[in-house]
Structure formats: C-alpha cells, structure tokens
Symmetry: C2
Subunit: 293 residues, 2 copies
C-alpha cells in the first residue's frame, strides 16, 4: 500500500462527503423524503422505464412501486404501459412534476454556484479543472478487464467498432475479408484469449491474444473506445495479455500495426516493444514490433 497517497484520498473523501451532505440537506428542504426526491430527479423530463430506475438507484421492486404510488398521489408522476412489452411500465413527469424537477435542478445549481462564488476567477478555473481530473481518473480506476469468449455479443460489438475505425483511419481503407488473416476462434484458451475493458458495465475496449507457436504470442484487435482514450486502458490491456501469454509459455510477444495508428505505435514503444522485420503478410501492416517477456 501507498501510505501518503491513501491518506490524501481519505482526506479528500471526508472533505467531499461534507459537501454531498449539504446537497442532500438542500434536497430535503422541499419537504419530501430523499428517496422520493431522488426518484423524481432520476425520472427526469424524458421519463424513464421502471426497470432502468430500479437498477440505477438500486431499489427493491416493491420499494420502487411504493415510492411511485406516493409520487402519483402527489400528482407529480404518471406511470403508463410502454408500447411493446405490456409488462414493462414507463414513468413520466406530469407538468407539476416537471416544475418540481426544475426546482431540484435549481437547488443543485445553487449549491454548485455557492462553491464557485467565493473563489477568485483563477481559483474557479483551478477547481473546475481539478474536479474534471478527479472525475476522469476515478472513471479510469473503475474500468475493469475481463477475459471472455471472442464470440460473445459484446465482443462482437467491440470488434465491429474496431473494424469501423480501421476503415475510417487507414488511408487505403479497410476490407475485413482481406485484412483478417486470423479467425476469432484462435482467441479461445488455450490457443489464445480475448479481453474486454468495461466502464460501469459497458464495453470501452478490447484486445486479443493468440499463440503463433509454443513460445511466441501475437497481440491483435487492440481497440479503445474514443470515450475512454487517455485513461491508460490500452496499456492495462496490453500488460494483462502479456501476463496471460507468459502463463501460456510465451517468451516473445509480437504484433503489427498500420502507419496511420501513430498513438498505438508510441504505446508499444513505451511498453518496451522494439520494431522488427516484417513477420507476416498482413496487407494493412506497415510496422512490426516484438518484446521479450
């Protein structure tokens, strides 16, 4: 463990908890229990499916039902059948509910403003920038990596977005039939593996590994969603795959890349890969790298 950093994080938690408490208190000022206020807020002007509300707020189905009945009784919300599945229901704000929602919204704005207000112009800039950093990095910290079959629905989804991006970025375009010298079933243990990176459960990146021979692994399909770039996801996936390759008995990892993917090349160099001679006939590859494990 890393003591001074942990101390800083804990002290940050305490400082921020107080602010959050202030927000909750201001929410209570409208004379409604926090649970109802939160639900009203979460339904929002667009409305929301009950299932979505339940999972987002982590509510028991019976409990949600009861709070909704109370909001309905107050004339703030109406719950109707959703066309499609007649079991599902959809909550919408009434006009009165929209007014209440706007009031809660204003309270949040006010609190945020009360934080900015006493600060100087430069203080405000620094605070907002630091908050953005914290948020970004907390997000990065909650990205998880999971090994899973390369033919799962989400894996396919990642791969589709990966190939889309190749088609956009390669000067020469990208034809999947021509470029794919490898089939997805090579990414299944023990011949290889497939890793998906997720942020709050939704996929934001993937990477694949296959054993070329007993002591050589190849990394392919390395992709990070634009929304998650700059958070170190790629290097985490790379290291994870290297560790797995080691377990598979690999002594060397190699990979190829297109000249258009500059940031990938600098990532590989940063992670200790060195450029080598062409080792395959991938028509889209311009650079070949390898690293001894």
């Amino acid at each position: 463990m890393d003591n001074s950093r942990i101390t800083q994080i804990r002290s940050f938690n305490r400082a921020v908890t107080r602010r959050i408490g202030a927000l909750e208190e201001s929410y209570l000022s409208r004379g409604r229990p926090l649970g109802e206020a939160r639900l009203l807020f979460e339904i929002g002007p667009e409305g929301a499916a009950l299932g979505a509300l339940r999972s987002k707020l982590g509510l028991d189905s019976g409990y949600l039902s009861r709070i909704l009945r109370s909001l309905e009784a107050q004339g703030l919300v109406s719950v109707d059948k959703l066309d499609g599945d007649a079991r599902s229901r959809y909550a919408t704000l009434t006009d009165k509910g929209r007014v209440e929602h706007a009031a809660y919204d204003a309270l949040s704005d006010e609190l945020a403003n009360s934080i900015l207000e006493p600060l100087s112009e430069t203080g405000r800039d620094r605070l907002v920038a630091a908050m953005a950093d914290v948020e970004r990095l907390l997000g990065a910290a909650s990205i998880t990596l999971d090994e899973e079959p390369a033919d799962s629905a989400e894996a396919r989804q990642c791969l589709a977005r990966y190939f889309d991006e190749l088609a956009q970025r390669f000067e020469e375009g990208f034809d999947q039939g021509k470029g794919n010298t490898t089939t997805e079933d090579e990414f299944i243990p023990p011949r290889g593996t497939f890793v998906i990176a997720r942020l709050d459960g939704i996929p934001v990146g993937c990477a694949a590994l296959r054993m070329m021979d007993a002591t050589t692994a190849e990394i392919k399909r390395m992709w990070v969603s634009p929304s998650a770039r700059g958070l170190g996801v790629a290097s985490r996936m790379l290291r994870r795959l290297e560790a797995i390759a080691r377990d598979f008995g690999a002594e060397t990892v190699c990979l190829d890349t297109n000249r258009a993917l500059k940031e990938a090349q600098s990532l590989y160099r940063r992670e200790g890969y060195t450029e080598i001679e062409r080792f395959n006939d991938n028509p889209y590859a311009d650079h070949w790298f390898s690293k001894r494990l």
Copy 2:
C-alpha cells in the same frame, strides 16, 4: 451563473457520490448500522468527550446516548467520568473496540487502495494531486468573512498572531508600542470596521479598516494564517473592506507596509493599488499605497 463550470461541478458530485456510497456499503459489511460505525470510528483510539462527538457528528443528545449504550453492550466502548467536570463524560474504546476501529480503518484504506490500484504510476500521481487541489479549493470556498468587534476574543487572537508574525519577519523586529499608531477602537463602525475570515468556524485571517477623514479610508492589520495562504483570502478581505469603505463615503483607500512583506506588496499592486509618497510616520512602514474607489 456560470453554466459549463456548474455542469462540471455537478458531474463531479455525481461521480464522487458513487465512491462515497461504496465506502458506506463497505462500512455496513461489518454488520453494524452506519450510525454506530461512524461513532465508533469518531471516538478513535484516543477516545473523545461526548460533547465533542455530539457537535462533530451533529447528533441529538438522546440519540448519542442510545448509540453509546449499544456500543457498550457490544463491549466496544466504555464511558467514564472525566476528571474536572463530573457532568461531562468521556468515551474510550475497549481492546475489542480498538480491534473494530482498526478494521474500519482498514476498510477505508482498502477502498482508497482500490481506487489507486488500477491506475498507472502517473495516473496515481495525477489523481492524488487533483484531489489535493479540489480539497484545498473546496476549503477556500468555505471560508467566510464576518464583520465583528475588534475586541472580541477571536479578534484579539488574530491580532496577537499578526503581531507575532511581524516580530518574526521584520528585519528590525517589531515593538507593538512603537508600531501601533492606531488603537483598536478606531475599527468600530462608523469610524471603521474589523473583518475576520473563518474556515469551519476557526479564524484564519483578519483585516481592519478605519476612516482617516471623511473621504479617505485606511486598511490595517491585514493578516492570513499560514495554513490558509494561497487561497485568495487576503484579496477577498481587501475587497470586502473596500466595499465597506465605499459605503462609509470613502473615495480613496490607502495603506502602508513593511519592505519584508513582499507578497502583501504584490497583492496590493494586483488589486489596483499604486505606490505613493509617505503619508504617515509609522516607523515600520517602507511603502505606501493608495487606490481610488
């Protein structure tokens, strides 16, 4: 209001609330209500006076009493008379209580560590630095300024620390009798005023204003505690005093300062003061400034 900044603050709040929620859940994992856990934690290895606990956690006296009885029943805490005032009582952890406390402490550490762990070394550095910034600036945002009598206990305390600092920093030392051309009763409305800056209720700075004649105000006793420097407290106090001076009918504000107080001089210049000729015979003054309101 400042829209994009407010949006950033609100989004930060949401992101951080989730983390805090995770901490509270981990606290619940020890099978004890959050209220008891918090109290146990707050008592700490050193123990704590009941009054201090009540004010720190914002608990009703009856409620506190009940939670303490429950912790006593679990054998975690003992409450004894404090020597001195036989009405006050003091809570201490038993050996078993200390073990529990350490367990909660470990949970907090674990959560902090789980945030750091997935990040790269530079990511960790950036996160911790950004958290420190946010914490600092949130602190700055909660500094309040109050006008109050210059002879209150806390005002005297500020002034004592101010004079101490002068004695330390002036090359020629500082003798209060010689330096004080002004008495504290000149800082009472409508002849003048006295402002105290507080962070969480404790004084961290002061500044005084007195009217020299009907249209000229003088600023004196400008001091910021070392712990609160760099947060813009001085310029906030300065602006507040200028606004009050305006209300008093002042058209010009002037002040003097010693050559050793470099940061004060640059503050005055930054705030629009220009250096003028000597206007008093303060033996410790080396520079004189004024500003038209």
